[in-house]
Symmetry: C2
Subunit: 727 residues, 2 copies
């Protein structure tokens, strides 16, 4: 029996980019999310070990032959055989190496090279810049340079259009500085931690799980003598790494003899480090504050006002875009794990008894890669699934959750995320807080693997209840009945006097636990008390089971007239890591193609116009005052239409100028080669059309803002072909 | 003589919302920015004092009469005369009260009532919400609720269009968390302070200047017995308040016997409190960071990359929109002085030898209220001035500065700021850092007085030099000469051996000061050394004057061939306090008008469509399924066109529904009273036109996005008049 106060005081919950500690047995069968496709490697490790034993045995045999004075030819034959065995061993070693690198490194090599090409381009063209570079930077902090900043603006503007405007959401904007009491209520002050170890001599800090992970990966990749059993053990450790407790991590670190990587000094036991940036609000030093680790809490604490603003009606959604902060112990993975980032979060408040969604039919026909719990547990992979089917089969918990999954799918693919490399992965039972009804992550595949970019969680009533509890302000909704309803109500009346005698100081906790029973629990208890006179009852807040006697509680059902229903709404929360989405978008948009002369590879970002940092460049074909005047005029008309554009009047060859802007992902280039009409070139196809000067701005605006496609335009305007047309 | 190192180590500089301490004599004639229009009050105070003396004298005379045994009638006459004098005194007192309240309170009463009406509406309609309200809030932190958030988005989108896009600026987005070294270089770690006093018993903190200000104002307003001289002194204190040093503030607090307002306990001496929120970056505790107090530093540290991105060409501008943080000691003035706020900053980098601007002619004909230094010093008021004239007369230092002043004027007035309540005030010499060439603040008049909302400063090379100095990375620009130039260069060679003998440990400072002399200073020194053999030389870094002998330095001019010129660009910085602009906009947009029945006053925000949080509401005239269907259809087409809109299908009277949305500043209301055509009502004129259902979205879009005006639309569509037309 789990009681209500226990729910309130329960574990801090998993949310995008955050983690919480669960306990998992290292001996339990692996609950691995990706199947261990390690059979080939396993048998090679076994064969290698076998071969080594054979060689060892053969070695002793030869030594015995020698001591026993065997003939030279006899010994020579034996040595020959031993050498043959050693050759076989080498061959197995090579196969094993190949198998390991095929598993872990093979595609990793090309993945690393690909990532390097993308990242080089991004840094060279100032999509991003390591922050405070002239002061040697700060790990985990990045600036968006001009094109990156424009991409981010475009993504956020589209997010506002696609979610806030389209769904009539209430957008709010709350401060980053947050007083302690709010984050105490949300659980962050106590639970928002990573486990850290310190170099016992220098005091350098490391994430305990990172060190263990690095150790296991290194062993698996480089230690050929590793037994198959040991290899399986290390793989299991890797699989359950996120779920290990501090004690378990510490024990493994000791067992494997892991030391500080920089100094080889011994390490401290792991201990929790809170990931929030702490500060003081005001000058007195009496008021602790934190930089918010997520934007959601600002919405929850305003629930009452927002509900009123919405005319006291459910469902409604509130949204917030803003900075969030996490003081990572040692940030890795470049732009994916940073100390400050932009979140866009939605909190959709809904009646827990009715999670249908009026616009559900608009997404129920969508079909895309989903990775439900069962497929993960049974070692299968993600599969294409109709959203409607997933709901009707009970795979996705409810319509509203499904509606947001569908809308997130549309959002990401319209941005340019490759739908083949996008999947919605359901949380496994052990990943979810117990109060959560269902959680799905939109994961995007990148060179770092599958990255959680959007979390979509049905968090039930947890957050509003936590703040109700802490603030004393009831964050609830009312449903007024058209006419009063007669309802049978469960009445639980703990007999405080009796309880006080037995439980003394713990009386309050027992009373609360009794009062928090749901109907079934209470009626079960009533039945047991009537038959047996007493019952065992678990009080979560005391972490023990107590004996309740018949005299200690009265449980009955009574009829009452009610005029309204008062309840805590459930919240369905889609939470977007904007920086992660943008980074994955960079990888999905990047490709290389040979220059016209074939002497070099040119970089291109195939951003859709919606996302492109600059929509259009304007080039005079040759340096010439007349053409430059036309270029200026076109640029001015584009600017007036709100279309970001760039003139390039340098004398560089047209091919070079195209290449430069392809690398920024500019979708359209206007080349001025006469004063009456000009050409427009599309980036990916390199198609060119001819358009009158005074129509250019309108054409570019239409195709940039999605009112028509390039294909439409190709049909409408004459194609242009010329020697100078292409690079 | 002021030498270069002294410039670098000079005071932290004045910037929007910030302050720095200057020293000013309390005995000096007042350098008051607003003329003391206090003559009437002064003479009343004098008359009151005179009358009191006369009354006192008369009182003694009567006492003498009594002792000397004068006749009853004689005494009665004298008492009569005394009573007449007392009546005259009361009359003067009343005049004085009226004069004071006319000065300080009279309009203040209506100002306060007006502000209360605006603020009540803003809070009730959730334009803003005190943050973390359910936890009793945190002073100086506010949330933007749904309409406020929409207004802010609109203002920022327009800012991007008006500045970034229109001027081809390089927008960047840097983190808020900033390492100490950056803010040490900028001067914030050492100088970004306010003076604070503590209640010596409770430890409560107060801003020293606020306490002194409150004391002076209270005395001036409520102490009628105050002498004219004392009143003048208190007014002078108020005028120079911002410039007082800690010692001066402390002395005044002691002199006036000011105590802690809450407890009447004695106060500590004033001491500086740094206004930055401090935190730790990473887990080690070894790396101090701050939440940035402004966004500008993120641009300065990226100068090198941005200059390269711009093709190594000047001028160019970089821009940034983002959160900034200031840990105010005790925030007052509601939304105007907050602890976290959005800044939008531009850093325009320019050749110090050429501050012309190519688009200057586009603004030079503008005319608006300017308040140059001379007018302030001579007690005049702001006056309408042509921007071109201000530049040609040397009132505004240069074209680029003037260009931005003009663009800021256009930006603010297009948002809806009343141009009669907007002025550009030039900084007085004592307000500017000595390196600044010229500074102007866009000040907007609100119920709090004239509020600095945008600062536009020519900061010369200060910031780039400070970061060059601290980081060792040269933040400079190059001008390549078409052909090498022969230049005469000044060569200053301090003779270190000689200097060392005399100045020992101070040698380095003297050497630096000598090397930092400009050409005129050096040639003057050379001439003096040649005639007199020695010269007095002020070394700012030593804060003293030393004697330089001929043997200590050689100064000569040499001819050299140079291929390029390397220089530190000047920066012109327009810095926008977005929250302040929005608050002033609320006040300028607010008005009240009687309801149709005349029984109540209704609130209206006259936001231009550009700013309005919602562009359009859609109402079915009566509750009716057909009309509701049409309303839905119109709402959908508006949403698809990106126009924020709101349906109201409640059965409330149409007048009430109009009033509700007028209060949110919604400019247009569509009322569905048939299935073929509908009415569109404009908020301020209450004019209505009739438009076909399928044209509605296009009409609203055009007028919302400024492609046409309401007047244009009135001409094009038939007017609609009906009983239900107005409220």
């Amino acid at each position: 029996m789990r009681s209500y106060p226990a729910i309130l005081s329960s574990l801090f919950h998993h949310r995008i980019f955050s983690r919480f500690r669960r306990t998992i047995s290292l001996q339990s069968p692996a609950t691995v999310t990706t199947p261990m496709a390690a059979t080939a490697e396993d048998s090679l490790r076994r064969a290698l070990a076998d071969k080594q034993s054979t060689i060892d045995a053969h070695g002793s045999a030869i030594r015995q032959l020698k001591t026993s004075g065997a003939s030279k030819s006899e010994i020579d034959d034996a040595v020959k055989a031993l050498n043959a065995l050693k050759l076989e061993k080498t061959s197995i070693e090579n196969q094993l190496k190949a198998s390991i690198s095929g598993d872990a490194n093979g595609s990793a090599i090309s993945r690393d090279a690909f990532r390097q090409a993308v990242v080089n381009t991004l840094e060279r063209r100032l999509f991003y810049i390591p922050s405070f570079k002239i002061y040697r930077g700060v790990a985990g902090l990045y600036d968006y340079g001009p094109p990156g900043c424009a991409v981010k603006s475009n993504v956020l503007a589209f997010w506002r259009q696609h979610f806030v405007l389209e769904e009539d959401m209430l957008e709010v904007d709350c401060p980053c500085v947050t007083p302690e009491v709010v984050l105490k209520a949300s659980g962050h002050v106590d639970k928002f931690t990573d486990l850290m170890v310190k170099d016992e001599k220098t005091g350098n800090c490391y994430r305990a799980d990172h060190l263990l992970k690095d150790y296991c990966k290194d062993k698996l990749e480089n230690d050929l003598a590793l037994s198959a059993d040991k290899a399986a053990e290390l793989k299991h450790v890797l699989a359950v790494l996120d779920d290990l407790s501090g004690e378990q991590l510490g024990a493994k670190i000791k067992e494997y003899g892991i030391v500080a990587p920089d100094t080889k000094n011994p390490l401290s036991d792991p201990y929790p480090f809170n990931l929030m940036f702490q500060t003081q609000i005001g000058p007195s030093g009496a008021s602790t504050g934190y930089m918010r680790p997520e934007t959601a809490q600002g919405i929850f604490v305003n629930f009452k006002d927002l509900y009123y603003y919405n005319g006291n009606k459910l469902p409604f959604a509130a949204a917030q875009i803003g900075q969030a902060f996490r003081n990572e112990i040692s940030p890795r993975q470049g732009l994916l794990r940073v100390r400050e980032f932009t979140l866009a979060e939605i909190e959709h408040f809904v009646d827990p008894d009715d999670k249908s969604h009026p616009k559900y039919s608009e997404v129920s026909n969508l079909e895309f890669l989903m990775f439900p719990r069962d497929e993960q547990m049974s070692g299968q992979s993600a599969k294409r699934l109709g959203l409607g089917e997933a709901v009707s089969k009970g795979i996705v918990n409810n319509q509203t959750l499904a509606y947001f999954i569908g809308r997130v799918y549309l959002f990401l693919t319209q941005l340019g995320i490759d739908e083949e490399r996008l999947r919605f992965r359901q949380h496994l039972p052990n990943e979810m807080a117990h109060y959560a009804a269902d959680c799905w992550d939109a994961e995007i595949e990148s060179s770092y693997g599958w990255i959680e970019c959007v979390g979509i969680a049905d968090r039930s009533a947890y957050d509003l209840r936590a703040h109700t509890d802490k603030s004393g302000v009831a964050l609830v909704a009312q449903e007024k009945f058209a006419e009063p309803k007669e309802v049978e109500k469960l009445v639980i009346t703990p007999v405080k006097k009796e309880l006080g005698l037995i439980f003394k100081g713990n009386q309050k906790m027992v009373v609360e636990a009794l009062e928090a029973m749901n109907e079934k629990e209470a009626l079960d208890m009533k039945a047991t008390l009537e038959t047996k006179g007493e019952v065992e009852f678990e009080v979560c807040t005391l972490e023990k089971t107590v004996t309740i006697k018949k005299s200690m509680v009265s449980i009955s059902k009574e009829k009452k007239k009610e005029h309204q229903r008062v309840f805590t709404p459930s919240v369905i929360e889609p939470s977007f890591g904007i920086g992660r989405i943008i980074y994955c978008l960079y990888e999905h948009s990047f490709y290389m193609r040979p220059s016209k002369a074939g002497d070099e590879q040119l970089n291109v970002f195939r951003f859709p116009p919606l996302v492109a940092p600059i929509k259009c460049t304007v080039f005079p074909l040759v340096q010439n005052q007349q053409y430059e005047e036309v270029a200026k005029q076109i640029s001015r008309s584009l600017t007036a239409a709100g279309i970001s554009n760039k003139k390039d009047i340098t004398g560089t060859s047209i091919g070079k100028r195209y290449a430069r802007t392809d690398e920024l992902g500019v979708p359209f280039a206007v080349t001025v080669d006469s004063t009456s009409s000009v050409t427009i070139r599309e980036r990916d196809s390199k198609d060119q059309i001819r358009v009158n000067v005074d129509e250019v701005a309108a054409v570019i605006k239409d195709v940039s803002e999605g009112r028509c496609t390039w294909a439409d335009i190709l049909q409408k305007y004459p194609a242009h072909t010329s020697a100078s047309a292409d690079e």
